[in-house]
Structure formats: structure tokens, C-alpha cells
């Protein structure tokens, strides 16, 4: 409510300032034209011998340029303010979501501890409760490490452990791990196509990517989840299509889903858990591998596809050499400049 009010407040301030600016421009033109005529008439009467041959339009144009600059400045400030408001809004949502994500498992752990402390719980139930606590503690651990790792990734503090892998073998292995981690039945993940291509990736980072996409597919599916993974090589790229049978993504949201803190809200969303960091993390990892990820969806209830493009082995090496060369050149330039100094 507060945010809404402040947004309308800023819109009103902008409109009022623009009206004031237009008024000022009108007054300036009116003042200049009327005074120019008066000065000309008075000048002719008082000192007809003085003839002024200077540029008469210069002060007029100068005034208009000044006023237009003020308007441009105001528009620029307004634009930045809007961006800031949008960011604040996303940040508030993130805080609200993270509070929920931290407090929920914590409440559950506290509840089980107090239950075990105050009641005589049968041994079988005790085991069940302990498993629940382990599940919640693991959820907390995943959440905290994801926040820390995203922060490290953004500050370029993470050094990827790159190795060459046969992509089909790697994806098969990681998806089997994801299926086990999320307790999915054997037929939940289907892998189609194949490629003999190799690529250079950080296995742990790609595991995070696939786990996040699997988690998303589970969270946003009303029916038992069905994941279909296809991969192929196209020129110098390996293309992996990760599709699910979930609720899909509205077309207007496709670009936003990878933004930091961004979450899609709606009455058809079967799950409210999440922080708005998962797909942002995925995008950043793929970017660090020199690749690209895009979201595709035919609309609501028609599933989603996440298309990952990674450079093949040779392309990765070529880019790596190029970047090394660029770094070398840069280093040489710095050394030459230092020697000259």
C-alpha cells in the first residue's frame, strides 16, 4: 500500500513538474516576444541613431535550450527513480520470500524439538520426526549456501573447476542424481537425442543448473512431473532443451524469469516456496561457461522449455585462447606504459 502510494506520488510530481516546466517555457516565450517589441519601439524613439546588428535570436534560443535541458534532466531523474522503485519492490519481495524460506524450516525444527522434549513419542514417530528435521536442516543449508554462492559468483570470487566431458554421459549422470535427490520415479525424466561432442564445464556448477531446473519443474507442475531432455550439436554449440509438463510461463514473463529476485505470481501457481534466485543463479553459471539460457513456453498449462546453449570443446578452447591473448596484450600494454613512465 505504501509502495503504491509512493509510486503515484512520484507520477504526480513528474506530471506537475512537466506542467510547471511547460508554463515556464510559455512565460519565457511570452516575456521575450513582448519585451523585444517594447525594447525595439522604445529604442527607436529614444535613440534612433543606435543600430543594433547583433544576433537577436541568440538569447531566445539560449533560454529555450536551458529549459529543454531542465526538462531532459527531470525526465532522466524520473526514469532512474522508476528503476529504483522497481528494484526496491523486487528487494522487498525477496526479503518477504527469504523470511518465509528461513522461518518455515526453523519453525518445523523447533516444533519437533519441543515435541520430543515435552511428550513421550513412540520410537517409530521419533525416527520420522528426526528425518523431518534433517530435511529442514538440509533445506536451510541449501538456501544459505545458494545465497553465499550467488554473491561469490557476482563478485567473481568463484573459480570454476573446468574439465572436458562427453556431454551426453555427463547430463545422463547428473539427471540420474537429480532424480534420486528429488525422489522422482524412473519414468519421470526422459532423455532424447544425443551427441558425441565434448564440452568444457564445471561439473558441480552444471549439477546446480540441472537440480535447479528439476526443482522448478517439480514446484510448478500440478500433475506428477514429466521432464524431457533433448540435446544436439549445432555448429559450434551444444543445445540442451529441458522441458517440463508444468503450468508454463506467460509470454510477457519469459524475459523476466532470469532476473534477480524475480518471481511469477498468480492464482494458478501450485507452490509459493522460493526466493527468486534459482533461475538467476542458473543464468549466471551458464554465462560463466560462455553459454546462454532462454525460456520458452507456449503459454499457461502448456509446459516450459529451458534452452541451454554451451560452446563445444573446440569453440571453448578458441575463446579461451582469444581471451588469454587479449589479457597478454593488455599486460604488455601496461608494462610498456610503466616502462615509458
Amino acid at each position: 500500500m505504501k509502495r503504491r502510494r509512493s509510486f503515484f506520488y512520484h507520477i504526480s510530481v513528474f506530471v506537475v513538474s512537466q506542467v510547471a516546466w511547460l508554463g515556464l517555457l510559455g512565460i519565457w516565450i511570452y516575456w521575450y516576444v513582448s519585451n523585444y517589441i517594447i525594447f525595439e519601439k522604445a529604442g527607436e524613439k529614444l535613440s534612433p541613431e543606435i543600430v543594433y546588428n547583433g544576433t537577436k535570436v541568440l538569447p531566445f534560443v539560449g533560454g529555450i535550450i536551458l529549459l529543454v535541458s531542465i526538462s531532459f534532466g527531470m525526465s532522466l531523474i524520473f526514469r532512474h527513480l522508476n528503476v529504483q522503485l522497481r528494484l526496491n519492490n523486487l528487494y522487498d519481495n525477496f526479503i518477504s520470500n527469504i523470511t518465509h524460506e528461513l522461518k518455515s524450516p526453523l519453525s518445523s525444527i523447533q516444533l519437533y524439538l519441543e515435541t520430543l522434549n515435552s511428550r513421550s513419542v513412540p520410537a517409530e514417530k521419533q525416527k520420522e520426526f528426526i528425518n523431518m528435521m534433517i530435511k529442514d536442516a538440509s533445506r536451510l543449508k541449501t538456501l544459505i549456501s545458494s545465497i553465499l554462492e550467488i554473491s561469490a559468483l557476482e563478485q567473481k570470487k568463484i573459480v570454476h573447476d573446468f574439465h572436458a566431458y562427453h556431454i551426453d554421459k555427463l547430463i545422463n549422470e547428473l539427471l540420474a542424481g537429480a532424480a534420486e535427490q528429488y525422489n522422482l520415479p524412473n519414468d519421470a525424466i526422459k532423455i532424447e537425442g544425443g551427441t558425441k561432442s565434448r564440452c568444457i564445464v564445471d561439473k558441480n556448477a552444471i549439477k546446480i543448473v540441472l537440480n535447479n531446473l528439476t526443482d522448478n519443474a517439480i514446484k510448478y507442475s500440478m500433475e506428477p512431473v514429466k521432464i524431457n531432455v533433448k540435446f544436439r550439436t549445432q555448429f559450434s554449440k551444444i543445445i540442451i532443451d529441458f522441458s517440463d509438463n508444468g503450468i508454463g510461463i506467460p509470454s510477457e514473463e519469459l524475459k523476466n524469469v532470469f532476473s534477480k529476485f524475480y518471481r511469477v505470481y498468480g492464482d494458478n501457481i501450485p507452490n509459493v516456496k522460493g526466493t527468486g534466485l534459482g533461475l538467476y543463479w542458473v543464468k549466471e553459471i551458464i554465462r560463466n561457461h560462455g553459454g546462454k539460457i532462454t525460456a520458452l513456453s507456449d503459454g499457461i498449462n502448456k509446459g516450459s522449455t529451458f534452452r541451454i546453449e554451451l560452446p563445444v570443446y573446440n569453440e571453448f578452447i578458441r575463446r579461451f585462447k582469444k581471451s588469454l591473448l587479449a589479457k597478454k596484450k593488455q599486460k604488455k600494454l601496461i608494462e610498456t606504459t610503466e616502462n615509458r613512465l
Binding site: 500500500m1 518477504s96 523470511t99 519453525s107 516444533l111 515435541t115 520426526f129 492464482d267 501457481i269 509459493v272
Partner: protein, 235 residues
Amino acid sequence: MTGENKILLVEDEETLAVGLEFNLTEEGYTVTWARDGKIALELFNSQEYDLIILDIMLPYVNGFEVARKVREKSPQMPILILTARSGVEDRIKGLELGADDYLAKPFHLQELLLRIKGMLKRKMWYKEAAHVQPVYSFGDNKINFENLECTTIDSQLRLTQQEAMVLKYLIDNKGKIVSRKELIEKVWHMNPDIETRTVDNFIVRLRKYFEPDPSNPVYFISIRGAGYMFNTENQ
């Protein structure tokens, strides 16, 4: 008392719901668990419950919306909001929509159980009291204690459960002085040593609804240093 009480537990976190269900069952309540707002409303519309424990951040229909829809149908249903959202704005919104109590996560088990017990006790007392005399009239006012609808000289309104309980207690003690502490103890079922402005706020609201001139009350009279008295003799 708890043997027949049915609780609808609306919670999307499975681990928390399992623990709550166990504890509530141990206390003798019959618990039905709904994992989202849509299921909660379906269950509420098809079955009878004595109390609802409601989370806010729920899939499909959020807890605020569930509370609003429950209130529309059943003004007397005790609702306890149990949520991770502990901000003042959320608390106010929840209570305004008709929740009777609001507990933030993480919570203490004993506190939750005591609050549930208190809410059910209040409901039981009110149900019995309202059953004896469902409609009461004084002056130009008419109150139906079953659906909480009131007709006053110039308007029609619906009381909240808590307002109705305060009013019912004062009516039952018509002509007698009722202290603030007594109201806190008997209506709120809370420790009477807590601050007593809450009672005054409720009296202000009742005067606004039912007094011809709220600044010069004739029905809800303040007795200096003692409390309040409901009186219809002065009219």
C-alpha cells in the same frame, strides 16, 4: 472439551503440518490437513470445523483470502493465523479480515496449544450464551448473536466475534458494574494483569455503533475507577 473439536489445519509446509497434526491429535483434537487455500475452502464448505489454523503464504488462494471467505460464511468461526509474516501491516490485515488471533513463526508449541484452547473455550461460552437468547433489542438497536448482524437507528452492520462477545457479556450482566479486569479474564480468557486499553477500545466501538450520541453514552456507562455498566434504564 477437546474430544469433539475438529480443527482445519491449512499449511503448505509438509514437515510443519505433520508435527502440528501429531501434537493436536495428542491433545485430543480431530485434525484435517489442507495443503493449499483451494483445498481449505473446499473442506470448509463441505465439513464442519470448530477452529481453523491458517497460514498466509499458500498456493492458489492465499490465507487472507481464505479468512475473508470463511468470515463471509461463518462470522463465528475461530481463526488462528500462523505465519512467517510477522510485520505489523500483515498482522493488522489478518485481524481486520476477521482472524481472532495471530501467531508468528517460529512459535512455541505450548503457546500455540494454549491459544487454541482459549479460542475454543471462548467459542463454547459464546455459543451457549447466544443459544439462550439469540436476538436482543435495546432502544432502536437489534442484535442477532447467531449471525452477528445488527440493526441500529440509521444503519445495518455486522459485529466481529470479539465485539459480540464483549457485548454479550455486558448484556448478561445488565445493571451490574463490570471491571476491565473481569472482561479481560472472562471474555478474552487472558491474564487480567495485562494492560487494559483493549477493553476501552472495544467500548468506544460499541458506543459508536449503538449510542444515539457516543460522546454522552446512555447504554454503555463508564463508572469511574470501577469499570463499565450496561444499562437500559436511562432510556
